[in-house]
């Protein structure tokens, strides 16, 4: 058995940082004497860690979760390119059951962290829109799958690069994503075509918008439909991000700067 421990011990040998994903207090304290940078990545800093990266979504996909944590830690200067870190996280249960060793370098940067933290819209708003889209993808409209397109941030420019398909139900209203009633409203309005436009502070500016960006040079995976194309293209033309719920495969995808950054399966949440 000693040999097994030795060979698996290589996994955490000579690491520069220890990343704990959503650790319990006792799990966190176990590493009090460890002589490396200890970074906590969780929804909230329950253990009072000095180095903390807030996790806006649960990220069922472990790769996305790690990427988000590492990018966040790099952004805040907890680790630098060239460091090797060990990540302890829970893949199957609620307790940490997985250790991942990885090398931090610039190529890790996929933009997931920037998508949430560095977008024009506030991080909380981005998270709320994700939650609405995931919720919509899970339940659909009366049991049938629905598609939806949310353009978040830079609303003034987006409004000028789009035209109304119908009367705007949100005109002169002051609803924000994250308000309790909003999920129901969005669900109803998602039956009709067009995009939702959400401002930087989360106000729902309009529904039923037909986006008219120039789709030149937008490179999104083949096989995605007009909704994704429109969403991807508008993020190239403006500083907005687009969160798209696909009607055909039920996935939630996020675009920024014309690139597909994140793909989430609502069924896993």
């Amino acid at each position: 058995m000693a040999t097994l421990r030795d060979s698996l011990g290589d996994l955490v040998a000579d690491v520069d940082g220890l990343f704990l994903f959503s650790p319990s207090a006792s799990h966190y304290e176990r590493f009090d004497d460890v002589d490396v940078t200890r970074v906590v990545i969780a929804a909230e800093n329950g253990v009072g860690a000095d180095a903390f990266v807030e996790l806006p979504l649960g990220f069922e996909n472990v790769r996305d979760r790690i990427k988000f944590g590492v990018e966040g830690a790099m952004d805040r200067g907890f680790v630098t390119a060239g460091d090797t870190v060990a990540c302890s996280l829970a893949m199957f249960g609620d307790d940490a059951d997985t250790v991942v060793r990885m090398r931090v370098d610039e190529s890790v940067r996929s933009g997931i962290y920037d998508l949430f933290i560095d977008s024009r819209a506030e991080p909380g708003v981005v998270r709320d829109v994700f939650e609405v889209a995931i919720d919509l993808g899970k339940k659909g409209q009366k049991g049938k799958p629905v598609g939806a397109l949310f353009v978040v941030g830079d609303a003034g420019k987006v409004m000028n690069k789009s035209r109304p398909l119908s009367y705007n139900p949100f005109e002169k209203s002051h609803v924000h994503v994250g308000d309790p009633i909003v999920n129901v409203m969005l669900k109803e309005f998602s039956r009709l075509d067009g995009a939702f436009v959400v401002s930087d502070s989360g106000k729902i500016v309009s529904a039923y918008r037909y986006l008219e960006p120039s789709a030149e040079g937008v490179d999104i995976p083949k096989g995605l439909g007009a909704r994704h194309m429109a969403g991807g293209a508008i993020t190239r033309d403006t500083n907005a991000i687009a969160i798209v719920l696909s009607e055909s495969d039920g996935m939630v995808r996020a675009f920024k700067g014309g690139d597909l950054l994140l793909e989430i399966d609502p069924e896993e949440y």
Binding site: D154, G156, N160, E171, S199, D200, V205
Partner: protein, 260 residues
């Protein structure tokens, strides 16, 4: 023989004493009932949840009781106290009545004062909790003063009302309160006047929406696309620059909607 002497003893006790005893028993029953009902009522009203975490409640818990139980007990004893006085009156015990009459007039006020004090203390604690919760996002040590000020303001008011109830001269304290309120209103108004006027204009702008997000407008020298509008400010984005204009400026300068 035995039965006859007991009956004789009983019959020597005047009827009014029996009535007084009955009143006392009734008082005990009523007091107990009021106590139970008060507790139930406060629980139904969600009081225990609302005051959870306040210092008074925690102290009460340490003594194995709770604020709701204490309030219930006070209400119960109050009713019982009334019954005692009623019993004394019924029994027509002259010399006692003369002394207790003054007390009887005073007692309800004392009870009220105690209840006001307890409510005040609990309310003050609660206000402190709520305010500090509100400011938790603001990571500024000086902000801790605000919850304390709010708490002691409520304490002060409660103490003032309680003292007024029991008839202590509170004129000086009321002058102090007036000065405090004046400072709060006057200086607050002075400090917040910009925000107030921006908020007043903002209410109009949000209700009528003469312009909305996506419109191109010109306010004074600034021309650009409206990105965001809330109660206090309007964000106007021009070339590479986002202006954040207080709403009162929109009214002071007027605005032009640029039609394209």
């Amino acid at each position: 023989m035995q039965g006859g002497s007991v009956r004789a003893a009983l019959s020597t006790v005047p009827l009014r004493f029996w009535l007084a005893l009955g009143t006392l028993v009734l008082g005990v029953l009523l007091g107990w009932l009021v106590r139970v009902i008060t507790r139930r009522f406060l629980r139904r009203a969600g009081v225990p949840g609302a005051i959870e975490g306040t210092t008074f409640e925690r102290t009460a818990r340490e003594f194995g009781t709770s604020t709701v139980a204490i309030l219930g007990a006070i209400a119960g004893y109050f009713v019982f106290g009334i019954a005692v006085f009623a019993a004394i009156a019924v029994a027509e015990i002259e010399y006692v009545a003369q002394f207790w009459n003054a007390v009887a007039g005073f007692l309800p006020q004392l009870f009220l004062a105690v209840i006001v004090l307890i409510v005040g203390v609990v309310l003050g604690d609660k206000v402190e909790l709520v305010v500090s919760e509100r400011f938790r996002g603001v990571k500024l040590p000086q902000v801790n003063v605000l919850p304390l000020v709010a708490k002691y303001s409520v304490f002060y008011l409660a103490a003032l009302i309680a003292l007024g109830q029991v008839g202590v001269a509170t004129a000086a304290l009321i002058v102090l309160l007036a000065a405090y309120v004046f400072a709060l209103v006057f200086l607050g108004g002075l400090a917040f006047r910009q925000l107030l006027s921006a908020g007043a204009v903002g209410a109009y702008l949000l209700l009528h929406q003469p312009y909305t997000i996506g419109d191109e407008i010109r306010i004074g020298e600034v021309r650009g696309i409206v990105q965001e509008m809330d109660l206090f400010v309007t964000h106007v984005e021009a070339e590479d620059e986002e202006y954040v204009l207080p709403n009162d400026k929109v009214f002071a300068d007027g605005f032009a909607r640029v039609r394209t």
